[in-house]
Assembly symmetry: C2
Homo-oligomer: 225 residues x 2
Amino acid sequence: MEAKSAKLRSEKPRNGNGGEGRLPYDERRAQILHHAAEFFSEYGLTGQTRSLAAACGVSQRLLYRFFPNKAALVREVYQETIIGPFRAVWLAQLTDRSMGVEERLNHFYRDYFRTILTRKWLRLFLYSSLAESEMAPDYIAAIIKDLMETITRETALEQGVDLPDDPDVLHEIGWTLHGAVSHFAIRRHLYKASREVPADRVLAVQIAAFVHGFRAMVETAGEGS
Amino acid sequence: MEAKSAKLRSEKPRNGNGGEGRLPYDERRAQILHHAAEFFSEYGLTGQTRSLAAACGVSQRLLYRFFPNKAALVREVYQETIIGPFRAVWLAQLTDRSMGVEERLNHFYRDYFRTILTRKWLRLFLYSSLAESEMAPDYIAAIIKDLMETITRETALEQGVDLPDDPDVLHEIGWTLHGAVSHFAIRRHLYKASREVPADRVLAVQIAAFVHGFRAMVETAGEGS
DNA sequence: GGCATAAGTCGTCAATTGACGACTTGCAGC
DNA sequence: GCTGCAAGTCGTCAATTGACGACTTATGCC
């Protein structure tokens, strides 16, 4: 029965998938990873391999040529999409004392907001945090801790404020700003709210509260000791 | 073959379920809703009805005596667990001018943090936000808007600061504090971080930044107009 | 004590879903 | 032009999962 095969062929002008022909191993693998990041970010880590394959314009079976199982695929997406961008977090500009702290913070958070706190990153991060997959939070946690410490110390230095000894309190002071910014991103990308005021302006306001409320924060933090 | 039935009976001292006998309709329904809130909060809205039934100590079939399908059950859990507590949000104390704004904010956010921003509430809220089920965000959004406006106006009044006309900017100013607090709750309950410093102290620090950075925030917000 | 009725369970169905063996097809090198 | 191998698909399997018809059992009431 070649007829059926021939007929099928005639319906697909060139090949079975979306629009590009066969790809070498590495390219196809990269393309799948790219689509998978988008896909799992939107539909969650429980998204089905068949839908993902369809989104890639590829048969479901093909996924298993590149990844031993779904969990491995998800793990790699996480590494590439969540951990990957974090490597690029740049602390140097935060200690560049030729600028004032407020200006430095504005530069940094505009960058951070646009690079890291994207819809894709946030949704994927939240999905995996909720699933407690605990894929690699330590690496990110360590970087953020550094970040909180740098921001707090630089601000204290500029303002001649004595910081408390407890490093945890110090981190929480930094988190006041970082949390406000992160939640702003969650509002925008998850709840689809807080979209009227331009992002840069919102960030500037949040940074102003941090910088100009800094001394009061440190004093308040010291009261309970 | 009564024998088999009799033998089975002897293995379960009293009845087929966990430990309580048969319950009247309303009680059983309430009990299922209670377990379901816990269950979906932990395992997500895709959690399986069989596991839920097991957690309730009840057969899976019984769930369908109370709810036409899983979606309806989830919807009711959401109403009860997410929307329900929000009705109780108390704005009166925020306008009680016999106290200073900073003290009022401390009272309010201690309450809010403990009542609303629980692990159960947050996880459920995030799961449903991610799923875009859009179950009833408008109601909550409206209350929060009120809240942001009240907080901002009360602070401005106390400090004799002129607020900008744009109501969206006004809300964003309030969100600086509310976002910092919300993200603190997410860190605690979701990421299991930020647990070293007592919650009340962290809240006090965040409120201090808001109150003492308020004038600078408003000035920064007004610059771009 | 027996019976009506609500409370509760059993077993099963169809659809979904991750996984994979067996097959087909395009293309590079001769 | 043909052949060998990598790229890609088909069809299927077993487990899972929402849903539900048919049945069983406890309990209050006479």
